[in-house]
């Protein structure tokens, strides 16, 4: 990454991620940010220790079957390191996301959902939160809205600005239900974001509320 990441997830989000307890859509956004962000990887390492400490303090439950040594041969063991994809962000898509949307942002099939706004929904097994790529045209503003649950937004390309600051590639906005914001995409580059949302968005204006069922956002 050449740009410096200035917006990170809150500590409690990283903890939930480390515990493996996030709705899948959130975990996908977090994983994508983490591949781009050394600072969050460092925090995550400490948070894993919390999980390990709690795991060690668990009571023990007798296992009924002994170690299945009869079925094991040394030849079955994996040796050597797993090959890791060196390209963390390739074609604008973070490595963890590539299995579900492919490697290239320009190859995404977008569906228009409103003026200057298109989206691509990523289907997941976990329906507690939904995951989508959203592409906003240069200079386009989204209607002012708030969220019922949590929302995570990761900038993959371009940038946007709202009441809380400017978000560039790699930045993650970790928003809570009662927060209201009205984002505007960068005037030149526009913006492509990966967004996980829990609960429906609530738009402030009547017009936007009218548009919501059609927009599906």
């Amino acid at each position: 990454m050449t740009t410096k990441i200035t917006h990170h997830p809150h500590a409690e989000s990283l903890m939930s991620c480390s515990a493996g307890s996030m709705p899948e859509a959130f975990a996908a956004v977090m994983a994508s940010h983490i591949t781009m962000c050394p600072q969050c990887r460092k925090d995550l390492a400490l948070m894993e220790k919390i999980g390990v400490a709690m795991f060690e303090q668990l009571e023990q439950t007798s296992v009924l079957q002994d170690a299945p040594v009869m079925h094991m041969r040394a030849a079955e063991a994996d040796h050597g390191a797993i090959a890791v994809d060196a390209a963390v962000v390739q074609g604008g898509v973070p490595a963890p996301l590539q299995p579900v949307v492919g490697p290239d942002l320009t190859a995404i099939k977008w569906k228009r959902v409103g003026p200057g706004v298109a989206q691509h929904i990523i289907a997941l097994n976990d329906d507690r939160a939904n995951l989508r790529l959203v592409k906003v045209a240069p200079g386009q503003a989204l209607p002012e809205h708030s969220h019922n649950g949590s929302e995570l937004t990761l900038v993959l390309q371009g940038s946007y600005r709202d009441e809380t600051g400017e978000y560039r590639t790699g930045d993650l906005a970790d928003m809570m239900g009662d927060a209201t914001h009205s984002p505007v995409a960068d005037a030149v580059d526009g913006c492509i974001c990966l967004i996980a949302t829990e609960g429906k968005l609530k738009f402030k204006s009547l017009l936007a509320r009218f548009v919501q069922p059609f927009a599906g956002i």
């Binding site: 500590a11 996908a28 999980g51 170690a67 063991a77 994996d78 390191a81 579900v100 649950g149």
Partner: protein
Amino acid sequence: MIPQIENVRTISRLRNTPGSLSMADFLQRIAERGDVEAFRKLFQSYAPRVKSYMMRQGADANTAEELAQETMMAVWRKAGLYSVEKGSATTWIYTIARNLRIDRLRRELTWVALPEGHDQVASTDALPDDLLTEQERKLRVQTALAGLPQDQLEVVSLSYIEGLSHSEIAERLGLPLGTVKSRMRLAYQKIRDLVEDLK
């Protein structure tokens, strides 16, 4: 046949006494020469706790048993990928159990896959802690956890052990979502302060 279960004290003695084999040594023996005895030791130490973990995460006893067996089989197969830089044997086995739990109990992709994906990427950023430092860090984390106010410990435990999301914790405890998040954040600040104090 029910294997003998070593208690926590035995495990830490094994780990700390010079000259005796640590759990990490057992892992290395499995990796180097497919040492079945070493595996049996690891199995007896970890399988019962992995089973508890799976049950607390919502698995019934049979499923938890299967997942514990499967976790330990993964430990056997992947032992060659373990290195001390990846942390203690416990850390490594815990993360395998955690990943398997996401995969099997929730049938989801393991987005933040540990330890393979995450640790290999992370290892370029920071020097790995040696085992001693990791022991100290773990003790600090345990001390910090023990010192947390009950309401903060409760949300941390519901997240890590019961596997609940923030919204599910809020629902379970009848609290606003913001309260759950701020309790977790406060808990982390206390733990981080105590651990960083070490340096």
